[in-house]
Symmetry: C2
Subunit: 146 residues, 2 copies
């Protein structure tokens, strides 16, 4: 499919996860919630919207739907590898929101395996140094389609 604008994996990623309720549902799943009712309550999403978003995430291979009860049929949502790979992005958004949007103490804290309260940082996988705007530049760009 050729989209208008620049050919770009950010745009393609956003077609899968670029919607508020999608990302809030994924947040709850990262926090360990697995069931529709609990995800609905904790996000505040309407049931119709949430059902559509979860279906899309299952279709995209980000979540897996597993039946845990046969009569009546009930399901849980589990993250796939692709879903678990979104966790650092959500933690980055959380840290950005803590710093630049939220007033007061961070509402949510995470602990890293090392024992410290988690402060996520983005580094270059090659050298381990920080990734920031002055130290990175695009060397290949996707074509722009009118």
């Amino acid at each position: 499919m050729v989209r208008r604008g620049r050919e770009c994996s950010v745009a393609e990623a956003l077609e899968v996860v670029g919607e508020r309720w999608t990302l809030l549902a994924l947040r709850e799943i990262m926090l360990g919630e697995r069931r529709f009712n609990q995800i609905a309550e904790n996000t505040g999403a309407s049931r119709d919207i949430l059902a559509a978003r979860l279906r899309k995430l299952v279709d995209a291979g980000v979540l897996e739907k597993r039946q845990y009860e046969a009569h009546p049929p009930r399901h849980e949502y589990h993250p796939t590898e692709a879903g678990r790979a979104l966790q650092p992005i959500l933690l980055g958004l959380m840290a950005w929101g803590d710093k630049y949007v939220h007033q007061g103490e961070p509402p949510t804290l995470w602990r890293h395996a090392c024992g410290e309260v988690l402060e996520p940082a983005t580094v270059c996988a090659h050298c381990g140094e920080a990734v920031n705007a002055p130290g990175t530049r695009a060397i290949r760009l996707g074509a722009v389609h009118a």
Copy 2:
């Protein structure tokens, strides 16, 4: 303001940047574009939507609008510190899209200051080790509002 659902900086961050055209406009600004017409063309956004999204980003302190011509008045959009702090998140989304959504070679490549093609990784700022789902757990949660 009390929102429905969990009190959470992910939700607050998404109120500022959680919309497809907002993030695509920020992508172009990360790539060095500064002018409305070019951002519109490169994202494929309609002019009305783009104008509203840029205005919101200026109001939220993510972008700064600078006049570069007086007659007629013309402006450029520059990222603030808060805007530049979104770059690692966009690069993370790009890498996720490259791996899990895009078919074929990555459309966009970045080079890190160390000279290598950038592969962003999220680590714990304290110990430098990877951040991933099995190695992190929430130790404080925001309250859920019905």
